[in-house]
Symmetry: C2
Subunit: 258 residues, 2 copies
């Protein structure tokens, strides 16, 4: 959108593929590093290497944002940082609340990547009265009773759930009722949310299980009982790939504090 570029919608139209959106943060991180080293421009090849993707994909991804590069030269680092930040909505800063201050919640609260990337921990919330008032990562923990007020007073629209699985849905319901429309769920449960609310999950156990699956292959077919064993086949540097889905309701799983 930026300037008045009204040609083919292909450029800045509202149709950025999810897969591309998921990679923008990666590019942004690599670009930020370059920016800090005062590198003025990068080629798609270089940037792709730094982000761990291949250059064709990167160029295609950028093409959805617009034509921000210069043929024969590459991309202007600062300009791209700005464009991607804007596209991701990071030019404003998002107040976030973290609910469930166990080890995980504390780790999240202390995560340095927040402030620097458009997010601000507006509040830490926990159900344990003993924690109320105690500062974690410099921020005082507040009691769950005040959840609704905290959300409203701070205009919070993004919530992080780091509670035990048993109370996650209930916390989720309260967050949503109070106005939160995006949730990052670390509890190992499928959350049900109304339409219009986004849920993303982070789940240690799932990630490990996926690794185990590939690990098992690499280990050879020793286990092969009556299977039409397939030797190598997969030894590729799989190195990741997620996928989640969703019907009308919530989403999935995750790590969990003590």
């Amino acid at each position: 959108m930026a300037t008045g570029r009204t040609h083919r919608p292909a450029t800045r139209s509202r149709g950025i593929p999810e897969a591309t959106v998921a990679r923008l943060p990666l590019y942004l991180r690599a670009l930020t590093a370059l920016s800090e080293r005062s590198v003025p421009t990068v080629s798609s090849e270089e940037l792709a290497a730094a982000a761990g993707v291949n250059s064709a994909k990167l160029r295609k991804d950028f093409s959805y944002l617009g034509s921000y590069g210069t043929r024969g030269v590459g991309y202007d680092v600062e300009y791209l940082v700005y464009q991607i930040s804007r596209e991701l909505g990071l030019t404003q800063d998002w107040p976030v609340v973290i609910v469930g201050i166990g080890n995980l919640g504390a780790a999240l609260a202390g995560y340095g990547g927040f402030a620097s990337r458009g997010f601000r921990v507006a509040a830490l919330i926990d159900a344990d009265p003993a924690m109320a008032g105690k500062p974690v990562a410099g921020i005082p923990v507040q009691h769950t009773d005040d959840l609704e007020k905290i959300i409203k007073d701070n205009g919070v629209s993004i919530g992080v759930i780091a509670t035990p699985a048993g109370v996650a849905q209930q916390v989720c319901d309260r967050l949503v009722a109070a106005g939160v429309t995006s949730i990052l769920n670390f509890a190992p449960t499928v959350l049900s949310v109304p339409d219009g609310v986004d849920v993303r999950k982070v789940d240690l156990s799932i990630e490990l299980q996926i690794l185990a699956f590939h690990e098992q292959r690499k280990a050879g077919e020793e286990t092969a009982a009556g299977d039409g064993a397939l030797p190598a086949a997969t030894a590729r540097g799989v190195a990741a790939g997620d996928s989640a889905d969703q019907g009308p309701d919530g989403d999935v799983p995750a790590v969990m504090p003590a």
Copy 2:
């Protein structure tokens, strides 16, 4: 690099799509819950609802594993639990080491989902000499100096990196050199690994940025300057969707302890 691969042996029997593999843990979790409630059978419809996917997808996923259902009836819960566990390689248990025992590492160490799901924390490793010997979640922390020995003595092939970004690559290199072939990376860096080593990332900041992107849209087109704004359109329960990729090397980012 495990065994030889090179071409595209892409057989068929052993060809479970990545997207399906990524969902098996979800199904497994839902099935385990049913199993605990002594539910004997489930239909694809019911199980799909519990796992947060749609039934056609679930049936297609299961079709890659074999024909484990009964037409007109559904799936036998116990049997499916076993088949999926086996497919994921969870019938054996995987010793795992966690490197970097900050808040995050401690949270992971205390995660209950380990033991119950085929994983065992074989060791906790940290570079801080002051931590050595101190138990975290009941497991004594060991010093980084002994990393290689620990990996070898325990036959560890899966490592979790929860260190600050600055040392992640270095830790990764040592893990790989010592024999680890699967890595779950929580540090916000792209790790380079040789072929045959799988890397998966978990990155709080990236997840939040993806949420922010969608959140921005929902917020309306207030920012809309000369854009052919697209009003509602997105209010759907987007609710997730990942995607990562990879070239020849490693992968990406993540949370980070204090």
